[in-house]
Amino acid sequence: MADALIVLALLAVAGCATSAVLNRDPTRQALVLAVLGTVLAVLFTVLQAPDVGLSQLAVGSALTPLLIMLTVRKVRRRSAAPKDGPE
């Protein structure tokens, strides 16, 4: 049973990583990365590493998405302005 759980979590990580790379829009990628963080936490739990799982949950579920979304908003706000940039 433990083996089945490990295989399930590993396959979910691989699928999530593929999806995170193939979603080219940063917003959508941030969503997939949030799920990837949760999936990694599950994998770490079934690999008997709850400390690492906690670490990954703390970072992956809220902090990384927040950082990426704030960057997206800043960059969008800039490029939403008319074209004549500094250069």
Partner: protein, 119 residues
């Protein structure tokens, strides 16, 4: 099944690393590239923890477990990974800060357009 399982976690880690590299190389947006780098980082976590796993063992945390009653997995790789996760996040933040600066100075976050600007 079990012969496959003996290398499957390592292969998954290698796959995740490679797909992250592919994303990095083909990315048209620096924010997306930073996300791909985060994927590459997660491959290292999977590899490290897979090295430390032991069949039928449990976590080496003895707050609710009598020491010696059950086999435990390797704590050293877990300690490495644990700090790596948090430090990796701040490094991601540093790269995102660089992206914000690039977007301010050059008005684009597409690496190809950046190359044209410089050349």
């Amino acid at each position: 099944m079990s012969a496959v399982l003996h290398v499957l976690p390592y292969l998954i880690a290698a796959y995740v690393f490679l797909i992250g590299c592919y994303g990095l190389a083909t990315s048209r947006n620096l924010i997306h590239a930073v996300g791909c780098l985060a994927v590459c980082q997660s491959a290292t976590y999977v590899l490290l923890l897979a090295v430390g796993y032991r069949d039928g063992a449990t976590a080496p945390v003895f707050s609710d477990l009598a020491p010696g009653s059950r086999p435990v997995v390797d704590p050293v790789v877990q300690a490495l990974t644990l700090t790596d996760v948090v430090v990796g996040a701040t490094v991601t933040a540093l790269l995102l800060a660089l992206t914000v600066q690039i977007s301010k100075r050059h008005g684009t976050v597409d690496p190809d357009e950046l190359r044209e600007l410089r050349g």
